[in-house]
């Protein structure tokens, strides 16, 4: 038998997150951070019922809290979302309402309140087109709102597809396709049925064993990443009808198949996941106080992708990390929010280790 000697030089991707800034201002738990579309401002919100806007003055290194939006909500603000034009902010609250803030007067002001959910609104998201908004609640429903030019918001659909609390809604990066994740352990996809203007459930992604807290599309919108109370991250691949791989599709709708499960990395609940549309890196926010970054390996295959953990920041916050968000323009700049009432900013740097 011939013995093969393998060259002992191997390349491994690796990286690190350097803390750029640690921002105080919120009182109590910070639930969410969200960048505006140009990456120049980010919003944070939490238990103290405020939305804070942070910017960096030109030539300065530090991020400053320039605006505090108060009086919009009676209870915890769970999530904030920017409109694609950057002129509107939506905030979802445990007080069962969603507030719409605009800056027509120069400053952000609350000029509309969306009511309808029976109890806590958990998540809000604007579609890429800018004309649609989605919200979800513990009342198990997902609502789609249509916006008109004169800033009127009309409920276009109430979708009762989940059997439990809906935790998160996100829109597809290009199309008017909506994804939601739930306490019922599933992720569901929705689109408008052109024939009767009704929103239909066009896919159910089941594989997680507990609450799915976060979901994120990659830049192409053909992949989705999800994170869960079951301590795993899953990657889902879209297969169109008639796909060459022979993945079965039903009623001419794409099938989303779980092609990768990342388990053994997180020691507690994974609360949020962010898929960078510039670098393709995936960041996670975990109840074990850590932030982790995953990267697809160069030899990864579409139908059986491989991701490796390239960076872990233990004690990224002194308590649970609730939210992570990549800056949409500045590659590698990551914002995070935690139960420790802080918002932290990180810069990712890739390093290649040869050993």
């Amino acid at each position: 038998m011939k013995v093969l000697y393998v060259c002992p030089v191997e390349m491994a991707a690796s990286g690190r997150l350097d803390l750029v800034d640690s921002l105080t201002g919120h009182r109590g738990r910070v639930w969410n951070v969200s960048w505006n579309p140009t990456g120049t401002v980010f919003a944070s919100c939490g238990e103290d019922k405020t939305v804070r806007l942070w910017t960096k003055s030109s030539g300065q290194r530090t991020w400053m809290n320039k605006t505090v939006l108060t009086d919009g909500h009676q209870r915890t603000i769970r999530e904030v979302a920017w409109s694609p034009c950057g002129n509107y902010l939506a905030s979802a609250s445990f007080d069962a309402t969603t507030a719409i803030w605009d800056r027509k007067s120069g400053e952000f002001e609350c000029n509309a309140t969306l009511e309808g959910h029976e109890n806590e609104v958990k998540s809000v998201c604007w579609a890429k087109s800018g004309n649609l908004l989605a919200t979800c609640s513990r009342d198990k429903s997902v609502w789609v709102w249509e916006t008109s030019e004169d800033d009127e918001y009309e409920c276009a659909a109430v979708i009762n597809a989940h059997s439990q609390d809906v935790k998160k809604v996100i829109w597809h990066p290009h199309d008017d396709i909506l994804a939601s994740s739930s306490y019922d352990n599933t992720i569901k996809l929705f689109r408008e049925d052109i024939s009767d203007n009704d929103w239909i459930n066009c896919g159910t992604l089941a594989s997680h064993e507990s609450t799915v807290w976060g979901i994120a599309f990659d830049k192409t919108g053909t992949r989705l990443a999800s994170c869960s109370d079951d301590k795993t991250v899953k990657i889902w691949q879209q297969y169109l009808p008639g796909n060459p791989e022979g993945v079965v599709t039903q009623s001419n709708e794409p099938t989303w198949k779980c092609v990768c499960t990342l388990s053994g990395y997180h020691s507690r609940v994974v609360y949020d996941i962010a898929w960078c549309h510039q670098t393709d890196l995936i960041a996670t926010a975990c109840g074990d106080d850590a932030i982790r970054v995953f990267k697809e390996t160069p030899s990864s295959h579409k139908n059986q992708p491989e991701f490796e953990l390239i960076c872990t920041v233990h004690r990224a916050h002194t308590q649970d990390v609730n939210s992570v968000a990549w800056n949409p323009k500045e590659a590698g700049l990551l914002a995070s929010a935690g139960d420790d009432s802080r918002v932290n900013l990180w810069q990712f740097k890739e390093e290649t280790i040869i050993f």
């Binding site: 445990f94 109890n119 609450t211 109370d229 507690r268 308590q319 649970d320 139960d339």
Partner: protein
Amino acid sequence: MCADRLENVNPKLFQKCFERDITPEEEDDNIVDEFDSREIFDLIRSINDPEHPLTLEELNVVEQKLVEVNNENNEVRIHFTPTIPHCSMATLIGLSIRVKLLRSLPARFKVLVEITPGTHQSEAAVNKQLADKERVAAALENKNLIGVINQCISV
């Protein structure tokens, strides 16, 4: 919240444990003493049952042997035993334990409150709800509910 009649009309009573012995080491401020299960138990034993004028200790809902503390990993795990397997107060009791510890322990601790395996018919559902910090946070902003919880944990 209040039922017309008691679910468990005649609960079994248990002996309260003795007060904790204070050692000289514990009174010495120069010695760091870590949290132990008795200390955590002392925080929750006097919580009132929502149904009876009795404490969780007297009803054997909480026991020192079902309190685990791991100081190194900042973990506290508590099992509680409802007096009857269909007790509708299980979630409320679990919430009271969580709130009491939330207000008493340093924020570094990750607290897990679960039903003692095999002692409640909705064990998994109650455990999932108690572990969901978002639901717990929302519940604590509910004035009626927090009022009831405050009554349970007031000494």
